[in-house]
Each structure stands twice: as C-alpha cells, then as structure tokens.
C-alpha cells in the first residue's frame, strides 16, 4: 500500500510537474522561419538571425531560422505547411496561399516593376517587334526580372522568343549593349545604377504593371495574436537604424502591412507557377 501510495504520490507530482511544464511549453513555443534561398546563405543567416533575435526580445516569441540548400527543399517545406513564418518570393506567396492558406503579413512599400531594354540604335519600337528574337533574362526564378516578365510576355503579349538566362541583371544589360541579345529584361533600379555610357546607349521598350514586393507570410495555424504581434513588432523594428543594412539586401524596405486580396490576388491571372523552374 505504502508502495502504491508512494507511487501514486510520485505519479501525482510528475503529473503536476508535467501539467505546469506543459503550460511552460505552451508559452515557450518555437516558431519556424524560412527564407527563400534566392539570397546568399551567409547573408540570410547573418541578417535574419539578428532580426529574429530582436523580434524575440520584443515579443517574447521564439523563432527558429531554417536554412535551405535548394529552392526545391524550401518549396517542399513551404507547400507542405512545415514553416510557421517565411520570407518568400511573390510567386511563392501565391502558391503558398493556394496550397496552405499562408497569410501575407508585411511587404515592402515600393512596388516591383520589370523593364525590357533594347539598344537605342535597335529597330524595336514595341514589344511585339521582339517576336522570335533573343531576349536575355537574369536567373530563371528571379521576380520580376525573369518570372514576371516572361509571364507578361507570354500571357499578355502572346509572343514567342528565345530566352537566354544570363545570371545577373548587369550581365543582361551588357549583353544588350554588346548586341548579343536583342532585348534584355531587368529591374528599373538595376538600370539606374549602371554607368552613364551604358545607360546612354539603351532605351526602355516596356515596363510591366507594378507588382507587390516579396512578403513575410504566416501559416494560418499561427494565432492571429501572434501574427499581429509579429506584424506590429516588425513594423516597429523596421524604423530603427540597425536594419538599414538588412533592407539593402532583402526587399522589405519601408514595410507595410500586406493584404493578399489587394496585393497578390491580381497576380494569379499571370499563372506565375508555370514560369518557375524546378
């Protein structure tokens, strides 16, 4: 009996401890956070760790930064709902919405605009003139220089072209200048930072409609309290100077609250997922 009593008392204490420890677990939950691996891994680690630490301090919520070696791994986790929070590409935001119902929380203020450039002395006056021509793009899955522009050219203008993926925006621009391609797709701010002699030899043939910048999204299983806490705290921290370098790399400058219906829903018609390379 004593033994039973003793054992019962031990069990009770354990349950008590488990109960309270379980409550502590519930308060101390660690949320996973993924960053689309379109950036240099070291930079992702350096800047996002710092940001998440600040968020932890401010919110008391714990985050775990998850690293991905490939885009496929990232998309696999994202589309399977394994990530609580993620900084994703625009098309990822649409894909994640449709697959898991991920909710955009914040995004950069300035819209993304893709441009088509040609040499000033080239005969191309409108987009249709590029039908059947060589067009240079940066990395395949870059938005808006690659995915968005190809989607627009094919879905809106319905033209055929030979796409050459030239890795970087700078290289795209130089290939246009050197007449290696007939036109090149790049971002407007990439063109702006080129030397004067390059800019002077080029003209913009076409600008895409404005698209929202990449967002931070949250899985719908995250409580609205936590989502709101995250959103508010991020917006609050973004106004502090230490994040200045962060925003130079990751397109979240001057963050505002994101709204899927308003920001990303209009892009669904471009069927962006078709233009993503796996």
């Amino acid at each position: 009996m004593n033994f039973y009593f003793k054992n019962s008392r031990f069990f009770f204490i354990c349950c008590f401890l488990l109960f309270f420890s379980g409550k502590v677990w519930g308060l101390e939950r660690v949320y996973t956070f993924g960053v689309v691996p379109l950036f240099i891994p070291s930079q992702i680690h350096k800047y996002w760790i710092l940001l998440l630490n600040d968020l932890e301090k401010e919110t008391g919520v714990k985050f775990e930064l998850k690293h991905y070696k490939s885009l496929n791994d990232f998309e696999s986790d994202l589309l399977s709902g394994k990530l609580d929070f993620a900084f994703v590409s625009v098309y990822h935001a649409i894909m994640a919405k449709s697959s898991q119902g991920y909710i955009p929380l914040v995004r950069g203020k300035k819209p993304l605009i893709g441009i088509l450039i040609v040499r000033k002395d080239s005969p191309y006056k409108k987009v249709k003139d590029l039908n059947g021509k060589k067009i240079g793009f940066p990395e395949r899955n870059l938005f808006p220089g690659s995915i968005y522009m190809r989607a627009v050219l094919e879905e809106i203008f319905k033209i055929k072209y030979k796409a050459l993926f030239l890795k970087t925006h700078d290289n795209v621009i130089r290939n246009v200048v050197l007449r290696k391609v007939d036109a090149g797709s790049t971002g407007i701010h990439h063109l702006a930072r080129q030397p004067e002699e390059i800019r002077a030899s080029l003209r913009i043939l076409y600008k895409t409609p404005p698209a929202p910048p990449p967002p931070i999204i949250a899985h719908p299983r995250i409580s609205s309290e936590i989502r709101n806490l995250f959103t508010e705290t991020f917006l609050k921290l973004s106004k502090k100077k230490p994040l200045k370098d962060f925003f130079k790399i990751f397109p979240l400058e001057e963050p505002v609250k994101a709204d899927y219906q308003r920001d990303y829903k209009p892009l669904e018609k471009f069927k962006l997922e078709r233009y993503v390379f796996k």
């Binding site: 240079g136 030239l166 290289n171 130089r174 290939n175 200048v177 050197l178 002699e197």
Partner: protein, 739 residues
C-alpha cells in the same frame, strides 16, 4: 739656350695627380654605371614582355568560358580588378571588327567602352607582341577547336620601365658621387706623404733665389722625388757658385766705375738709381744710400743758366726713346745746398743682348772752372776788341773832326764870299754824315734795337741791292721769292747792311763768274732767306771763325762785316747759319722777322713845312743846351712858336702852365735820357694822361731792345734817331703834324 719666358701657367703636380686619378675613377664609374643601367633596363624590359605575354595568354584562357556563356559582366569585373597592376594601360576583348569591351587607364580612372568599332581586322591573326614608344602591346586568341573566336589585347605602359630606369640612374649617380668622394679621399690619403714631399721640394725650389747654397733632404720611397731632390740640391749649389762669380765680377765693375773721374749715376729701366759713384755723391750733395731706388729727377736738379728754368731730365728722355742725350750748353746742376755748378756730358741707354732697355748711365762732370776761365778769356778778348774798336773809331772820328774843323776855318776865312762859306758848310755836312754812319755802325755792333721799323717788300728790296752789287759782273743771280713770302719789318738801313755785306762777299768770292741763288720762304713768324754761291767754299778750318770780329781773309778787309751781320740778325731775334762744302759753294741762311702788314704806299706829297708851322706851339726838351738851342732856332726858322725845357720835370711844369693859360703846346720833341728828372718816355706818358691828343716826337741815339722800342710807340707819334739831318727832321715833323 734656355728661355726664361713662361708660356703657360704651370699645373701643380698635386692638382695634376688628383685630376688624373679623378678622371680615371670617373671613367670607371661611368662605364660601370652604364653597364649596370643597361643590364637592369634589359632585364626589366624582358620581365615586362614576359609579364604582358603571360597576362594575355592567361586572360584569354580565363575569358573563353565566360565569353561562351556571354558573361560579360564578370569579365568586366575581372578585367577591372586587373588594373590594380599599375603597368596595365588597356585590356580589350576584341571580336571581328568590334571591341566588345575596352578598359583603359585614364587620369580620372578606368574608362570602359562597350561595343566600339575595332580598328584592326581580326580575320587575320595579328602579331602577338607589338611595341611603340610608350607601350608594349600583347594579343592572345580565344580559340575553340582551332577556331579563333575573339582576341584579348593587353597594353602595358613603359612608365614602370622608365621610372625604374630613372631610379636606377639616381642610384647609379649616387654610387657614382660616392665613388668619387671615396676615390678622392683614398687618393689624398695615399698621396699625402708624396705630396707633402713634393710640396717641400716646391717650397725649396721657390726659396732658391734667396737661399741658394742650401740643400734639402726628404724621406721618400719614390725614386722620381729623390731624383728631383738631387737635381734641386745640385741647382742650389751651382746657383751659389754662379752668384759668387757674379758678385766678384760685380765688385770689379763697381771698383772700376767708382774709380772713374766723372760722376756716374746708373738707373734701372724705371729710372730708379741703382748705382752712384763718389764723384756723383760729391757733385749732387746726396749719398748713394739716400737716393738708392729713387727717380733721378727727384734729387738731380738741372736748370738753364740763361733762363733759370728747369731742364728736361735727360734720363727720362733716354728711357722714352732709348737714344743717347748730351746736355745742352749752359746747363747748371743745383746741388743739395743750392750751389750751382756748370756741368757737361751725357746720358746713354744700357741695352741687353736682346735689345731690351735695361737702364741709363748718366755721366757728367763739373766744368764750372772751365766755364769761368773761358768767360774770363772772352771778357779779356772783348776788352781787347773794345780797345781796338775804340782806337779805330777815335782815329776815324778825329779824322772827320779834323776835316770839319778845317772846313769851318775855311768858312771863317772866306766869310765875305758866301759861295765858299756854303761850300765849306756843305763839306762839313758831308763829314757829319760820315760820322753819323760811323756811329750807326757802332750801334749795329751793340745789342740795341733798331730805331726805325718799317715794312719792306722783300723781293723789291733784295732785287735793288742785288742789282746794285752784281750789275756789271759776270755773275748770274737767280732770285726765287714766292708771292706768299711775308714782308720784312725793321730798319731798312740795317737790312741793307746785312744783304750788302753778304752779296759783296759772294761777288768777291765768285770773281770771274758763277751763280748766286737767293731764295726766301716763310718759317713761322720769320722769313728764311738763303743766299748760296757756287764758289770754292769756305775752308773747314776757318768756318767756325767767320763771324768773329776782325777775322778776315780779304786783303784790306776790316773783319767786321759778318760780325755786324750776325749782330744785326740776332738783334732782331733771328739767327744766321752757314753751310759750306769745299769746291761746291757756300750758303748763308738767315731768319729775319716777317710781317703780314702791307708796305705803306708812297706818301702823298708832303705840304710845305712853312705852311704847317703856323700857329703850332712846340716844346723842345733836351738836357743838351746846344741841341735845344739849335733845334729851337731851326724850328723858329720854319715859323713854329718854340719854347725849351732842360729836363722832363721842367717840361711837364711848362706844359701844365700852358694848359692853365689855355694855350697848350701842339707838339713836344723830347730826348729820351735826361739824368735827374723824368725821362722822355715818362714825360710823354704823363702828358698823354693830361692831354691825350698832344703830339710827341722822341729823339734818341740808342734803345736797348725791340720790346722797349714797341713800348715807345705807345707814347710817341714818331721817333727821330740821333743824329738826324734836316731832311729827316722835316719829313718827321710833316708826317706827325699832318696825321
């Protein structure tokens, strides 16, 4: 023969050695530096060529993949980074007619050009290495399967090469300078002992002129310096030997010189005394020690006896032209104590063997006693002459006076027969004229000035005399007197005396025929007149005596002709010279005073003295009562109102009284010399000061000099020489009163 001329400034051995070593070291350093520089430059050049070639090939290999992948942005970045190598001037990616990328180094940075036309045709492969003045150019192909797709061009500038070259030059220069300094220092260190010895030998050689006979000994291993030492010691001893020899010779010469009976002063080429013998010391009053090194003119005072003025220093004159000088006659040496000595002798130049003037030897002797003796003899001779002359004149005058007395007796005897009285008085007048001529001759012998001064046409004058003398003789007279020759000025009677004497001498010499040439030309203020004959000439032995009184070769001659001629000529300040050559003739050359004044035209006919004499008051002043009285009577005879005064003082008083009475005298005739009172000229001067327009005639038998005569004419309107005849008196009175 050794020459003592120094053609070039000698170079010191020390300087020469240093210069020589310096030159060798400089040459060595220069060659060494040049070799080092050249090697470094070649090495650097090769390195640059190798580097450029490697760059081009590596870059072509590297660029191929990126080129194929169209990754020009990466290529641009890589190329850009390569410009950290300062030597790269340009990197280009070239493709068939187009330079896809060209990165060029500019002052403002790296300039990138895109897709610019290519200047080269790259269908044919270019040379892989080219070079121009400032750049090395390298090409490398981007090749796939032997097909050249593009070219890499790299340009490397030579700035590095040049700057390295400059650095090397600087370093080499530094090494060069350092080498020189070290070389000189080492040289001086090594040569210090030989140079010191050389310097000692040099000092010894320099001191040889003063310290010959001494020897020098140096401690030195150099054989050449020891040989030089022996040579200098030998030279020193030889010099002493020569000096002793010269000293002995000098002593001998000095003793000889000092033993000479005349005074001797020897100077150097600057006129400074270097030797003076005892006689010279005695004559000058200075010792040799006192005047040694001084100029002779500083202590030797020579003056002319006649003028008292200093004479030219004969030594200075010899030093100027190098010609021997003899002292003029009448030279006086003024001794230190002021005593004056007559000296004679000469100053002669001393020449070196080469003809250079070394100095002057001045030899002179005291001839004071000799001159005194000569003058005493002359004085005695003159006394004798005067005695003889006085005797002769007294004889002649006594004869004339006897004649006059006799004719006066005859006038008395025949007082009732007026024709015989007039005839006797006429004879007396002739005898007086002869006596007057005699006294005129006496005046010619004296040193007095002529009392008459007229302008005479020389040509006419000489023609008339020549005509008078030579007419009727077979002698041909040639008269050459140009028109521009001046006129003579003086007493015509004296000039007549001169030329008559000379012409008569010529006539007597030529005798049966010959030629006489009379020429004249201007010689400053004188007229040079030469009278030449082609007679036998005057024997050489008698030529010096022809002007002496009473010297004659003519039978019955007085021996006074040429003596008087010479006196008259000299009284006019002129001179007479004679040149004669045996068998060829004699020439007398005379210098007589000339004048540019014109000869006075013939006077208009003088008026009758009786008419002129009316209302003319005349004062006669003469201390001789007979002259005073006789002249008064003669003038009164012509109608003059005449008063007399016995001397100058009295005459002045009378003249002043006449002025007070407003009846002044119109004419004063006064004697010159009146003892105890105003002389004639003083009286004339005083009267002229009182009444300037008073006419005054002076009468005199003798005037000392031409200067005095000229002065007389400032006070007198005319001068009447004594004795004057009636005709002369009348003529003078008429001239003065009608002027």
């Amino acid at each position: 023969m050794f020459s003592n001329k120094i053609h070039k400034k000698p170079i010191s051995v020390k300087f020469f050695l240093i210069t020589l070593f310096l030159f060798v070291f400089l040459l060595f350093a220069l060659i060494f530096s040049s070799i080092v520089l050249y090697n470094n430059y070649k090495s650097l050049y090769k390195q640059n060529v190798q580097k450029g070639s490697n760059y081009a090939e590596s870059l072509a290999t590297f660029s191929l993949e990126y080129y194929l992948n169209l990754d020009f942005a990466t290529l641009e970045k890589v190329y850009y980074r390569l410009f950290s190598d300062e030597s790269i001037q340009e990197i280009s990616l070239l493709e068939k007619g187009t330079c896809l990328l060209r990165l060029t180094r500019k002052h403002e940075g790296i300039k990138i050009d895109y897709a610019i036309p290519c200047q080269r045709d790259f269908d044919k492969p270019p040379s892989l290495f080219m070079e121009d003045k400032e750049e090395l150019i390298f090409y490398a192909p981007l090749t796939v399967d032997a097909e050249t797709l593009a070219w890499i061009k790299i340009v490397i500038n030579k700035r590095d090469l040049t700057s390295l070259l400059l650095s090397l030059v600087k370093v080499s220069f530094f090494i060069f300078v350092l080498s020189i300094i070290l070389s000189i220092s080492l040289l001086l260190f090594l040569l210090r002992i030989p140079l010191r010895n050389l310097s000692a030998l040099e000092n010894f050689a320099r001191s040889l002129p003063e310290k010959f006979g001494n020897t020098i000994s140096i401690i030195c291993l150099f054989k050449e310096l020891k040989t030089l030492e022996e040579a200098l010691n030998y030279a020193s001893l030889k010099l002493k030997e020569f000096a002793n020899s010269i000293e002995t010779e000098k002593d001998k010469l000095l003793v000889t010189l000092l033993s000479i009976g005349d005074a001797v002063i020897v100077t150097n080429e600057k006129g400074e005394v270097i030797l003076m013998n005892k006689i010279a010391e005695d004559l000058t009053g200075y010792t040799f020690e006192e005047v040694k090194g001084k100029k002779v003119r500083e202590f030797l005072k020579l003056v002319s006896e006649q003028t008292g003025k200093p004479l030219e220093d004969p030594i200075s004159a010899v030093l100027v032209d190098g010609k021997r000088r003899e002292l003029a006659n009448h030279t006086l040496l003024v001794k230190r104590d002021g005593e004056k000595l007559f000296i004679e002798d000469s100053a002669s130049p001393i020449f070196s063997k080469e003809g250079g003037l070394l100095g002057v030897v001045f030899v002179f002797r005291d001839v004071t006693e000799k001159v005194k003796t000569q003058r005493e003899l002359m004085r005695l001779e003159k006394m004798s002459l005067v005695n003889r002359l006085a005797g002769g004149i007294a004889h002649d005058l006594n004869n004339l006076l006897s004649g006059m007395l006799n004719y006066i007796y005859l006038a008395y005897f025949n007082k009732s027969q007026i024709e015989k009285v007039i005839e006797a008085l006429s004879k007396v007048e002739n005898l007086i004229a002869q006596a007057s001529s005699l006294t005129r001759s006496l005046l010619d012998l004296s040193k007095g000035a002529p009392l008459v001064s007229e302008v005479i046409d020389l040509k006419t004058f000489l023609s008339e005399i020549a005509n008078f003398v030579f007419t009727g003789t077979p002698i041909i007279v040639y008269l050459d007197i140009p028109e521009d020759v001046m006129n003579l000025k003086g007493d015509p009677a004296q000039f007549l005396e001169i030329f008559q004497n000379l012409f008569i001498n010529a006539r007597d010499v030529l005798g049966s025929g010959g030629r006489v040439e009379i020429k004249a030309e201007n010689a400053e203020e004188f007229i040079k007149i030469s009278i030449s004959d082609n007679g036998p000439g005057i024997p050489e032995e008698i030529l010096p005596h022809i002007f002496e009184p009473f010297f004659t070769t003519k039978e019955g001659g007085t021996g006074l002709g040429l003596f008087i001629v010479k006196n008259i000529v000299e009284n006019y300040g002129g001179k007479i010279e004679v040149y004669s050559e045996k068998g060829r003739g004699t020439t007398f050359v005379l210098y007589l005073p000339g004048t540019q004044e014109e000869v006075k035209k013939e006077e208009r006919e003088l008026p009758d003295l009786f008419k002129v004499a009316r209302n003319i008051k005349v004062l006669i002043v003469d201390d001789e009562p007979e002259i005073r009285t006789s002249l008064k009577e003669i003038l009164e005879y012509f109608g003059f109102s005449v008063e007399t005064a016995e001397n100058g003082d009295r005459a002045l008083e009378i003249f002043k009284n006449s002025l007070e009475k407003e009846s002044p005298y119109n004419l004063i005739i006064t004697d010159f010399t009146m003892p105890g009172s105003l002389s004639g000229p003083e009286l004339a001067k005083a009267i002229k000061e009182i009444k300037k327009d008073t006419k005054i005639i002076g009468t005199s038998g003798y005037i000392k000099s031409q200067d005095e005569l000229r002065e007389m004419y400032t006070f007198f309107e005319a001068i009447l020489p004594k004795p004057y005849n009636l005709y002369t008196l009348k003529e003078t009175l008429l001239k003065v009163l009608s002027s």
